[in-house]
Structures are given as C-alpha cells and as structure tokens.
C-alpha cells in the first residue's frame, strides 16, 4: 500500500499536473482573497467555502489518472498480480491523491496567516473550517477515484467526477424540490450541510464519522468495480 502511495505521489510531482493545479488554485484564491480585504477579519470561513467550491474543478483533474492510467498502460496487471490486496491498491491510490490535496491545502495556509498577522481573526473557527474542508476533500477524492476506476479514458473519468461532485455538493438544494421522506433522505445525504456546521465552528463527532464513512463507501465501491471486472464473464 505504501509503495503504491509513494509511487503515485511522486508521479504527481514528476509531471506538471500537481504544480499546475496548485498554481491555478493559488492564483484564483489570491484574486478572491484580494477582493475580500477590508471586509473585517472574520472572512476566513467564507474564504474556505470558496476553496470548497473550487474543489469541483480541482479534484477531477487530480484523480482522473489514478486508476484510468494504470488500466490504459497495462500497469494494472502488475498491481493486480503482485502479492497485495485490491483494497491496499485502492487505498494507496487514494492516499497519494489525498496527500497532494493536503500539500495544496497546506500552501493555502498563507492566507489565514496573513489575516492573523494583519488582524484578530477567530483562529478556532479557521481551524474548524479547514477541518471540514479536508473531510470534504477526502469525500470528493474518493468519488473521483471511483470515477477513474470506471473507465480507461482520463477525460471521461474527469467528466464523471465533475458531474458527481457537482451533484453531491448540491444534493441539499435538490431536497427542497421534495417533501416527506425524499426531502429527509436528500438532506441526510447532503455533505454540504454537514460542512456548514464546521464552517460556523461546530465540530460534531457524528458529522466526522458520517463524512469518513461517505469517503469509505466510494473506496469500497472502487474495490468492488475492480474485483467485478476480474470476475466478469462477458
């Protein structure tokens, strides 16, 4: 598992992909941050919300190659015939993409640092926002890896994950079209609402567990997809 994680992580930084993503992310955030200067010192939770929206475009590019590339290059055979379990392969891939995401998140810490130097923001609130943001990132990344396991075409993988991340982000909005059970079900599934708790400083253990399980479900589905392909009779 660690071998796969290390290899994939390095591969992100051997190609321009990680640098381009981080650069783009920082550029957009910088512009946004610039426009917010002067609106008081507690702008950070709103700022992190913007980061969350940008994930819609960042994560699909980050995860599109994860499984698809191995399938296309035939290196999938190497992984699947090595003495490691499929779960370890998927987890390794996930941890690699997640580590790149963490590096990216780490770089953005410069913005809250600026607010801390320049004003008196609520540091606990910033931390709780970031915490929610990282959990949300884990969900989107596992969803992106799932999408990548469905195809060997990276473009298609990225489109699938873009659409599904968009849906998951807006599932709470969809709920307003329904009433009764469906309304409740959609609201329950809404990760955005859970995230909102973190951004106003509520750290709820059920929410943490809920979001970790959310991510785990997509990783388990990815394992199933790979296993199913090996067992396929058609």
């Amino acid at each position: 598992m660690l071998a796969i994680m290390k290899r994939d992580f390095r591969s992100y930084f051997n190609s321009p992909i990680a640098y381009v993503l981080i650069g783009l992310f920082m550029l957009l955030l910088g512009l946004f941050f610039n426009s917010m200067i002067g609106y008081g010192s507690d702008i950070m939770s709103q700022f992190v919300s913007t980061m969350r929206w940008l994930l819609l475009f960042i994560v699909p590019i980050l995860t599109m190659r994860s499984m698809a590339e191995d399938k296309k290059n035939g290196t999938e055979v190497l992984l699947l015939t090595s003495p490691v379990r499929v779960t370890e392969i998927v987890l390794g891939k996930f941890l690699a993409a997640f580590s790149v995401f963490l590096v990216m998140t780490g770089v953005t810490l410069i913005f809250p640092l600026i607010t801390i130097v320049a004003g008196k923001p609520d540091i606990a609130l910033i931390l709780s926002s970031y915490f929610g943001y990282i959990l949300l990132g884990a969900i989107f990344i596992s969803l992106g890896i799932f999408a990548s396991s469905l195809t060997e075409n990276q473009i298609i993988a990225s489109i699938i994950s873009l659409v599904s991340i968009f849906l998951i982000q807006n599932i709470g909005y969809l709920a307003s079209f329904f009433s009764g059970f469906l309304n409740k079900a959609f609201l329950w599934l809404s990760v955005t609402d859970r995230y909102e708790d973190f951004s106003i400083g509520i750290i709820d253990l059920t929410s943490i567990i809920f979001m970790i399980c959310y991510a785990a479900v997509f990783l388990i589905l990815t394992v199933r997809i790979i296993e199913r392909k090996r067992w396929s009779q058609g």
């Binding site: 660690l2 071998a3 796969i4 290390k6 290899r7 591969s11 051997n14 190609s15 290059n73 035939g74 290196t75 999938e76 055979v77 190497l78 992984l79 699947l80 015939t81 090595s82 003495p83 490691v84 379990r85 090996r230 067992w231 396929s232 009779q233 058609g234």
Partner: protein, 316 residues
C-alpha cells in the same frame, strides 16, 4: 509445482479456455504454444490471478489461486504480453517500486537488484526514463520486473515478441539459464523458440489442448515412417530401381534434377528398419555414389499445422 485441472473461462458464449488440464514439474520449462487467440494469455492471466476462472482448479506450490491469492502471487513472477511499465520512472525507480510492491526485504534488495540488472543487461540504462528506452530494452525491464523477489515460478507471455534476432537469441539463452532454478511457463506462437528452449510443450488451439509432450516425442509420434532426402550421381531410372527394391522402402519419388545424371530423391521407409546402410552399399556396388543423405524429421511447425488444422476440419 503448477497444477491446472479442468480450467474453463467463458466470455459470454465464447469459451476462451475450454476444460484444460496439465501440470508443470518443479524446474521444468514448459512451452505453451498456439495460434493467436488460442487462449494462451487468458490461461496465463488466470494462473497469475489477474482474472478469475469460470470453473476449474489452479494450484501453484500446492496453494489454490482462488483461496490464497496473495500467497500464490508471492511465488510467481509474471511478464504479461505488454510489459507493465511506468513510463515516467527511471529503470532504477521502477525496479525499486516493484521490490516494494512485492515486499522484498531492503537488505536483500540491494544485491538482488544488481544481479537482476546484470542478468538482463540493463545496468547501463538504469538511470534512464523507461519511456525513452527501445522496445527491446523495455522488454528486458519487464523481464527484470518478473525476476524481482526471486519467485520460484516465472510466467512469460511471448517474451521475445518485437525483439531483433540478436536480442531474441539473448533472451532465449537467458530463459534457458533461468530454467536451472526456476519453473517456467513460456507462451509463444513461434515454434523454433519453443523447441529450442522448452522441455515440454502444450499445444493449445481454440481453448483446448491439442497435444502435450516433449518437442522430440511430438515429432516422432506423428510419423510412422522415416523420411530421407538422398542425392545420387547416376541415371534416374536405374537409381530408382535399386532403391525401391531395398527391403523396407515404401515409397520414393524424384525430387529435383540437379545436373545431368544427378538427382535428389525423397525416400520413405518403415520406421523400424534402417534402410540407409543397404542403400549406401547397393548404390556403391553399382558405382552410383551418394552425394547427400539427410533424414527429414517433421518439424514442430508441421506438427503444429497438422494438429491445429485437423481441429479446424472437425469444427467445420
């Protein structure tokens, strides 16, 4: 070492592998021969645990592939049809990754890596990116990957495809050398390769086993007569008359006229009787010297065609 019993794999209605069984002994080099699409790669993919079988049992080193996949995979080094290379890594990095993946202890790995790289002759390209290597070198790196962790069983799917003749000979010699302390299954559709390298051959066609034997036995078994080509200096009709009256000769015909009074003939004789000595003596008595005498064995190629084409007739 490897045991395959009633292995079947179906894709929809197509039976890619149809009820095949064979075993491979420890230290044996087994050739897996068949035309394209015969089911060679499918069988190898099942053997290595890459895909599952529809039914049947596969055991490697006494362990079932389905029940103990991780255990079995530890014993196997696999070179698939397309070497599974990460193009964005150097040869060094790639082999290190493979060693990590196969959990080779770090202490052993250092010396093992050196040995493997020298064996497949990639030491001088170890710092180059895999994507910049030629096809031949990529194949060697693929082979190196299969050797990582010194597995007892090597499964090589068409290891010499796309190599130039010199490289092919090198790889064949390498496989022969590896055969001394590995059990090897080697697939190929190139027949001389299999007869040059393997101890035993499994011929597979349309998912079924057509024959299993040593290369020599296969060519013997399919001929119930011995065949020669003989070139004699002397008038055609007289030479023919002498040879066809020798005890044991069943059939003869003129093959080509080389010069005036110098012909080559094809002679078929009973397998149990050696007709070469009486042939020499009698022709010498008549003053017709033999210029060339050569026995014609059915090559593996002939056998292969014979086996695979009869199957086709049956199918029609």
């Amino acid at each position: 070492m490897i045991e395959i019993q009633n292995l079947t794999k179906t894709y929809g209605r197509i039976k890619a592998v149809d009820n095949i069984s064979f075993t491979v002994e420890k230290g044996e080099i087994l050739g897996f021969l068949g035309p394209n699409g015969a089911g060679k790669s499918t069988t190898m993919n099942i053997l290595t645990g890459y895909i599952s079988s529809t039914s049947g049992i596969v055991k490697v080193a006494g362990k079932d592939v389905l029940e103990n996949p991780v255990e079995v995979k530890k014993h196997i080094g696999y070179l698939p049809e397309h070497p599974p290379l990460y193009l964005d890594m150097t040869v060094n990095e790639y082999l290190d990754f493979c060693a990590n993946l196969k959990s080779v202890p770090a202490k052993e790995w250092k010396s093992q890596k050196k040995d493997i790289m020298e064996l497949v002759k990639v030491t001088h390209v170890s710092h180059r990116l895999v994507k910049n290597l030629s096809k031949g070198y990529k194949q060697r790196v693929g082979l190196a990957q299969a050797l990582v962790g010194t597995p007892e069983v090597l499964i090589l799917d068409e290891p010499t495809v796309g190599l130039d003749p010199k490289q092919i000979i090198e790889i064949r010699n390498l496989i022969k050398a590896l055969g001394k302390n590995h059990t090897i299954i080697l697939s190929s559709h190139i027949l001389p390769e299999v007869s040059a390298v393997c101890d035993r051959v499994v011929i597979i066609n349309k998912g079924k086993i057509a024959a299993v034997d040593t290369p020599d036995n296969l060519s013997k078994a399919l001929t119930d007569f011995s065949r020669f080509t003989v070139t004699v200096a002397g008038p055609e009709n007289k030479v023919k008359d002498i040879i066809s009256h020798i005890y044991g000769v069943k059939y003869m015909e003129t093959n080509t006229k080389l010069k005036d009074d110098e012909y080559s003939y094809i002679v078929e004789a009973d397998k149990e009787i050696d007709v070469r000595k009486p042939m020499f003596n009698q022709l010498a008595q008549h003053g017709y010297p033999i210029l060339e005498l050569r026995s014609l064995n059915l090559s593996l190629e002939d056998i292969f065609l014979q086996l695979t084409t009869t199957e086709e007739k049956e199918a029609v």
